[in-house]
Every structure is written in C-alpha cells, then in structure tokens.
Amino acid sequence: MLKHTSIPSQRMPWVIGKLTNNGKALPLAGEAVPAGFPSPADEYLERPLDLNEYVAPRPEATFFVRVSGDSMIGAGIHHDDILVVDRSQQAVPGNIVIAFVDGEFTVKRLIRDGTELALAPENPDFSTIPLTLDTTFEVWGVVRHVVHKV
C-alpha cells in the first residue's frame, strides 16, 4: 500500500532518474552486491540443525503445553514435562491426545474399548475414562513429542 504523491510533469525525468538509480539497479531489488572473490564454501553453506523442524514440521499447528500429574508415566510423560501438540493431525485410536472432557483438559491415550472410545492412562494407579454418550468430549490435539529434563 503505497502513498500516492502527485509529481509535476517537468520533474518526471528527475524522478525517473532517481527511481531507476540513473540506470543502475536499486540495491533492494537487485542481486547481492559482488564484493571480492566468492568464497568457494558459499555453495555448500548449510544451516545448523533446527530442533523445531524435527518436532514441529507444521509450526502453525504446533502448540506446547505443560503437564502436571503422573497418570502417563508409562508413556514417558512425567510431571512438569512439556508436550509438543500437533493440531493438524486427526486423532486415531492409539494416539496420545490432549482431550477436553467435561470441562477439563487431560492427557491420555485414545483407545478403542469394544465398540466405544475411551481415554486410557499409562499408570496402573489410575483408571480408564470411558467416553459415553453423555460425556462432553473433544480432542484438542495429538501429542507428538515429550520434552523431558534429565
């Protein structure tokens, strides 16, 4: 969205000269300015590894959440860990999910229990949450990675 300015016609050659930098390319639109010898390594420059690319190939759909509680210890999810949650994936049974159940968030493994779905913990001290018709339930995202301090 550029600002429009009126220019008197007699000033046009001057303005055009300025705009085209008197025949030379403008620095912004041009290629990199050649200075000295090109480094032979230029062709092989690579970026350092970026962990984001590994854990969040779709950054716009990836969210981090912080865990509390021990019910998913068996899946390697500990108290105070950070989970990498992907919203771009449709949850299928077997996935560990962030579910919103009866007004609260919880992390559990989505399983098929007979003909119904259920949310299973990974700790024998906790019990499975059956998903019946009168549970308000939705999957908020699928857990892809755990960030755990050792």
Partner: protein, 424 residues
C-alpha cells in the same frame, strides 16, 4: 471467466483467540478490553446479541457484564498476534497468492484453482479451524469489494456454513440488497449518510447509480467502488481501501531477494512507512507483525514463508522503536538459501495517541515531539558506554504493574512460564 477473489476473515478474532485454549468459553459471552482495561474492543456473538456496544468504557458497563455472567479479558496482543501469524501461515501454505490485509483478514486469489474455488474454500476453512482453532468465514467474488461483502453474508447467514461464492450464486443481487450502504468497502460513514438521504440504502441501490454522478460526488475512489460492485476488478491484490484496524506496509520485490541484509533494509523501510501512516492518523500501535514469502509460482524452487508477531512493550508510533522490533522479527524468521518474493510489516492494536488509556510508563502524548531528541541522546550514551547503559525502565522490568491488565489470559504461545497446563 471471472476472477475469484476470496476474503478470509476470522470470526470475532480476539474473542476466538481467548477461546482457543479455553474450550469451556465456547458459546459463552465474552468481551476483550483495550489496553489498561479502558473500553470494550471485542465482543463474542452472544455479547453482540445482548446489545453491549463496541467501545463502551469498561467502568460504565462493568455491572451489566457481571449481571449477565460475561467473561471479561484484558487484551493479550501477544496471543492474538501469534494466532494471527498462525492463520496467515496456513493460508500461505495452501494458497498461491495471499495478501495479508489486517490482523484477522487476508485476500487470496483463487482463480483457476483445481476443483473449484468454493470447494477449496470449504477445505481451507476447515483446515484453518482445525490447525489453529480459529473459525473463519470466506467470501468469494469477482472483485475484492464483492468478496468483502460476500464474506459478511457468509458469516451472518447460518446456512452458508461460513463460505459463500457470489460467482456461482443463482441470485447474487440478493447479497447486494442485503448489504447496507455503510458496510461497503471503501464507502465511509460520511458518504454513507449522504447516500442514505438520497434513498441509496444498500449495495444494490448504489450499483445502479450513474457512473458520472458517482465520480463527481465521490471522486475516483467512489467510481472504483461502483465498478468493483459491477464485477470489474479495479483493485488487484495489495491494492484497495486501507484497513482501519491495522496498518500494513508490504510489497513484492521486483527481483527475488536472498540476502538477510537486504530483507532487513526492506523491513526497516516498510516499518518506517507504516510508522508514518500511524502518526498521520494520530495513532499508536501495540503490536507489530512481520512476514516474508518466497514465490509460490516458481515451481521447483524451495519454498518458505513465515510470519512472526512482536508485542511492543509500550504502545508507540516512534519509528526507531518500530524498526527495531520489525528487524528483530525479520531476523527470527529469515532463513538462508531461499529466494524471497515479498516481505512486509503490519501494525495492530491501534489506538488514538491522545485519548487513549495511558499506563504508568507510557509516554504522554504531548511529549512525542520531544521523544526523538531523547532517543538520540540515549542511543549516543549507549554507543559510548555500552548497550543498556541508559534504558527505558519499561524494557527491562518484568512486572505486571506495567499496565493495567488485570484480566489478561496467559500468553500461551509466547512465554514458557504461561503454557497451557494439562493434567495427565
């Protein structure tokens, strides 16, 4: 074959952001307050239905909000900016040509998209909502002006399910009759009032006016609106009436740009231009969004696009501050090895520089003219004795007293200490 421009507009954007991490708030009325909890700047549909007006000072409607059990939030631009960037990233991932128009709107050109624009728009809408949790509406038309009014129709008519295509509609005039004169893109309140007096009440009436008359009374801008309503595109992407909610400054480069140095230069230039526009309309911004894109049409070339949003600690129209923030954003999203086609900045969270609600550390409006020499002195001190020898207290002290934001939701996506907590 008419063009198929689509306007993608987030539904009640700030309210939807507040709901992104709070599914319990879906269907519940909620409002968002301006900086320092001054007045209402966003309302969910439920609140609109209750008749609480936009811009109402908070102290005036506090009792009413409590009575109706309305959830109240201080503005959380860190969250809104990040979710906006995510929505725009999804759009740039799937659409060949995107114009970010404001914090919650983007135009895309869907002409000739395989499978048809309507079908594509439905899938795009579902994807944006699933990936970002932000619901959007999509209006498609042969011109940007028609896409914009179709969007409103799509949003407000439940049977559209958020998507409507004027090009394939059996009765497009119905949409035009439905659109009130003041809601037409490019027709300001003053012209709308005058037109209403003449019995021109909606887009259909306006479209039937004589070209000469419109040109005489409403200049070339009015004429362009008229032609656009008749289906003749006058505005391509990146052109047209400016948004009032946000200031965007961006351009496609003449040649692909690869170096970070040049992108930083361009970013500074756009930030400067945006700051000028901001001061011209006597506003200050509380947020800046920076984006860059490669050329989607260059098949076989590596593609990358990214958007980042940077909160400004104190709302400002100060060019150096804006440049610094914009360049910091660009540095964060720049990746080497790509040929970039376009970059730009967008200022949002705009408020009038006078008559806004000042925080303790805000610069009083009348001090703005003195601001530049002060900045220069600070910069000179820091250049001589090292960075941060002199700094604004606002930039270093971490305290919630900085601004009155008593009801701000956590910055779920930008601050490690404020992540969403989930119980296993």
């Amino acid at each position: 074959m008419p063009k198929e421009y689509a306007l993608i507009d987030c539904n009640n954007f700030y309210a939807s952001c507040e709901r992104a991490f709070r599914p319990d708030l879906r269907g519940r009325p909620l409002v968002v307050l301006s900086n320092n909890d001054g007045c209402i700047i966003a309302r969910s549909n439920e609140v609109k239905d209750l008749g609480v007006g936009m811009g109402t000072p908070y102290f005036k409607c506090k009792a009413q909000l409590e009575r109706h059990g309305i959830a109240v939030f201080s503005s959380n631009y860190a969250l809104y900016g990040d979710l906006s960037a995510r929505v725009m990233r999804v759009l740039t991932r799937f659409c060949p040509h995107v114009e970010i128009y404001s914090i919650d709107e983007a135009f895309v050109d869907l002409s000739g998209i395989p499978g048809g624009a309507t079908q594509f728009a439905r899938r795009l809408r579902a994807t944006v909502e699933q990936w970002t949790s932000i619901p959007v509406s999509i209006g498609i038309g042969p011109t940007k002006t028609l896409a914009k009014l179709t969007n409103k129709f799509a949003k407000q008519q439940p049977r559209c399910h958020g998507v409507f295509n004027l090009n394939t509609s059996p009765d497009p005039d119905r949409v035009l009759r439905w659109t009130e004169i003041g809601d037409i893109w490019g027709i300001g309140p003053r012209h709308a009032k005058r037109l209403r007096k003449l019995g021109v009440n909606n887009a259909f009436d306006f479209r039937s006016l004589k070209q000469d008359w419109v040109k005489k009374k409403m200049t070339i801008t009015g004429l362009q609106t008229l032609l656009e309503l008749r289906g003749l595109p006058c505005h391509g992407l990146e052109a047209g009436p400016v948004s009032k909610k946000t200031i965007v400054s961006s351009r496609s480069f003449g040649h692909p740009v690869t170096s970070q140095e040049h992108l930083l230069e361009a970013t500074a230039q756009y930030a400067t231009r945006a700051a000028e526009k901001l001061r011209k309309q006597r506003s200050v911004a509380s947020h800046i969004l920076v984006f860059l894109q490669t050329n989607k049409f260059r098949l076989g070339q590596p593609q990358y696009s990214n958007t980042v949003s940077i909160p400004l600690i104190v709302s400002t129209a100060h060019t150096p501050t804006l440049i610094k923030a914009a360049q910091a954003g660009m540095t964060r999203i720049y990746r080497e090895g790509y040929a970039y086609k376009k970059c730009g900045v967008m200022l949002s969270g705009l408020e009038a520089s006078n008559g806004r609600w000042l925080s303790l550390l805000d610069i009083p409006p009348d001090a703005h003219s003195r601001h530049t020499p002060i900045m220069e002195a600070v910069d000179a001190c820091n250049a001589r004795w090292g960075r941060d020898t002199v700094k604004f207290a606002a930039s270093g002290i971490n305290g919630s007293w900085r601004m009155r934001r008593e009801m701000r939701s956590p910055r779920y996506t930008t601050t490690w200490d404020e992540l969403l907590g989930v119980q296993t």
